[in-house]
Amino acid sequence: MKGVKLAVAVGVFALISVFLVSYSFSAETGEPKGKFTYVSPSGAWEFKQIDPHTIVGSSAQEPSRILFDYLLYKDPDGQLVPDLAEKWEISPDGLKTSFYLTKKAKFWDGTPVTAKDVKFSIERCMRPELKFLRGGQLRRTVDRVEVVNDYHVDVHFKQFDPAFIDVVAEYLAIMPKEYTEKVGDDGFAEKPMGSGPFRLVSFRADAEVIAEANTNHHRKVPYIKTVVLKTVKEPATRLAMLKTGEADMIFLFPGHIPEVQKDPGIKLMWTKHAFLRTLIYYDMGFPDEPSPFKDKRVRMAVSYAIDREALSKLLYGAVEPWGSFLAPYHPGYDPSRTPDPYDPKKAKELLAAAGYPNGFDTVFTGHITEPTLWQATVAMLNEVGIRARLDMPEAGTWARYCTEGKFRGIGYGAGPWWAGRGPGSCLEAHVSGFWAPEGHPYPELKESIENLNKAILKGPEEEAKAARAVDDLMLEKWTRRPLLFSNVVFAAGPRVESYQNIPGQYWAFRLEYLKLKQK
């Protein structure tokens, strides 16, 4: 009897130790563990289900970024690093970009990711039906995609496209050719297949996406096992979820920052320099109409009238004063370009010198999602005599104003919110195109932007010089003035140990790098 009891005791002890050892081992070997819940106003696809190429609005990209791989991605310093493409080369004339793919990447069903999948994805992105979406713009510049061998793809261009690499890094998810062709678009929407660090478990449109770690990922096997992305539109509810532990990380409404700062269990995480807000002088787009803003002194007066520091404090640091059209991660960024100072006295002097000693009436078009910011701005303008009336149309009306050219007076520059891109596309976006309705670029400005695009091919130093030149010209003569840079803030609960976000990328994550504290 005694012997049996001893044997049992030893057996149990052995079992327990084996269990403990293997448990600690698994923690060390990095097997994915734990569940992480992230809540944002749009953590799940709002629009067309899962097809990553048809997404409109960068917010809906959040799930795509974890389910699919891209040719390149950005590291925490905002620099391009390899993902599916181990190496890439741009030809000296800019008309060809070559991607050399890693051999290690596999889709969730085990089939390898090869050049034909890349060609398929790029061409799919460029489908005629998607002409009006971002990928579709590639049609204008891309001539053809060539599979050189299983792991080498060349993209041939009709003209150099400085934005191409950014589109690739941010937007061009790689989808499996055979699988997608077999199940069709609708079948793919029901049951997608990617090669990303997480694999899809389930989703409910505009509500929730649940994904699990992909243990075969070529670049990084995630630390966390299950990810839940939830959509909750009401900011106060999101905060409540964070406090009760229902959410581990949320997209925070800046107004809640003081509340969060009081709570020791919650930390703030900033993504800096997501998009640049500018002052726009719309009247300059109408050369035949007289306007006070045609005089540079008036334009400077507007800028001096605004206390950027105060606005920054008003939003608890969610915006910071800025004085250049470039961001710190752009080559050519010059920190000595400080923001215009707050000098209401000078503003009044300039107005008087320009012939408006008693000020004048005008309209300020702000964005409806930030009434506090624009109300404060308009109040500051009124202080110096620029009697601006605040107009905040909602999204649909704003879009209509754009096409009908209804903007007048002063406005808030709406972007670009793809500021994480290279200087070429960023600067150009302030100058012309859909979001710059007042844009009639001066010939010298057009020329200097073309120089910049050419300089990108010549290397980072040339690029920096050319970018600085454009920045100078715009600061001197353009219809806009830099105002504030927006920083995006997330709030994370006590379970989150570390997280890497990418400067300039408003929504994108690298959840495979997110670590939870082990209990």
Binding site: E46, F47, K131, F132, T237, T244, R400, A429
Partner: protein, 305 residues
């Protein structure tokens, strides 16, 4: 009775056609969805092409005809935003709103009628006073504030209930209460005044004179008569509940119709807006008709020719 129903159905049809015209033209006046759907780099011709694909370039009356002939066949069009038939989108969300609405309605009816009747029976007493305050609060406190306060107290501070979303019966309690409180107020006030009115009647006096015990006087004679106005209100409330759940749905992240419609309006998703509003109108008319028929059973004085 059958004649009456037929006549009402015919009227309902005319009503719905009128509504469909109004909705259609109103939503198209509000703005252009194409711009919201295009990416910022789209050129003008790209936008025009998108417009053509969606059929939005045709004259309004043609678009209306396409819409209405579809509806007759059960096809409410394709949602621009969801790329799915509108009816599918609606069906996927409606059960949630129905659940929330029914729970809120049940809560408001039970609490409202009980409170109102008891207040009327003990008019001027402490219960009456309490009932009045409860009702007043329900009607004046903003719904979103109530919702957020409940979350703060019961989820964040006490940790008894989940903050939002759905899944278990626990998820239903706070949203149902938030949504129902407003209607509880209305129901309480109506029950109370209906009861008071009835309690003043001669037949109630008669019932007492006959020697009926007080509980019979109240529950059988008084309540049965007070029920008539209460039921009308309840039916109208149900439709208002089902359609007016937006704020509660946003605060509690409830995947229902209210939020769906508002998002659709902001996104200028005409087909979805039209579908939702048209269906809501149908439900409203159907409920009205149902209540009128129910009347004939509850109130013998009403006779339909």
């Amino acid at each position: 009775m059958a004649n009456y129903i037929l006549k009402r159905l015919w009227q309902a049809l005319i009503c719905l056609i009128g509504i469909s015209v109004i909705i259609f033209f109103l939503s198209h006046l509000s703005g252009d969805p194409v711009l919201l759907m295009a990416s910022p780099e789209a050129t003008q011709e790209d936008i025009e092409e998108l417009r053509r694909t969606l059929g939005l370039d045709k004259p309004l009356y043609v678009q209306y005809w396409v819409f209405i002939s579809g509806v007759v066949q059960g096809d409410f069009g394709q949602s621009i935003k969801w790329s799915k038939p509108c009816i599918d989108v609606w069906l996927s969300r409606f059960p949630n709103t129905l659940l929330l609405g029914s729970a809120a309605m049940a809560f408001s009816l039970i609490v409202g009628i009980l409170t109102g009747v008891l207040s009327a029976v003990k008019v001027g007493g402490w219960f009456d006073k309490f009932g009045k305050i409860f009702a007043l609060m329900g009607q004046s406190l903003p719904v979103f504030w109530v919702g957020l306060m409940l979350i703060l107290i019961f989820s964040v501070n006490l940790g008894w209930l989940p903050t939002s979303g759905h899944g278990s019966w626990k998820h239903l309690i706070m949203p149902a209460f938030t949504l129902g409180w407003y209607f509880t107020a209305a129901t309480t006030r109506l029950s109370r005044s209906a009861m008071l009115d009835v309690l003043d009647s001669e037949y109630i006096k008669m019932a007492r004179v006959k020697g009926l015990p007080e509980y019979l006087v109240i529950m059988k004679h008084a309540f049965r008569n007070a029920l008539i106005p209460i039921i009308t209100l309840a039916a109208l409330n149900l439709i208002m509940l089902l359609n007016g759940t937006v704020i509660t749905e946003v605060v509690f992240n409830w995947e229902g119709i209210g939020r769906l419609v508002v998002d659709a309006i902001f996104a200028r998703d005409y087909p979805l807006v039209q579908c939702c509003v048209l269906i809501a109108s149908m439900l409203f008319i159907a409920t009205n008709l149902f209540v009128d028929i129910l009347y004939a059973y509850i109130d013998p004085r009403i006779h339909y020719h």
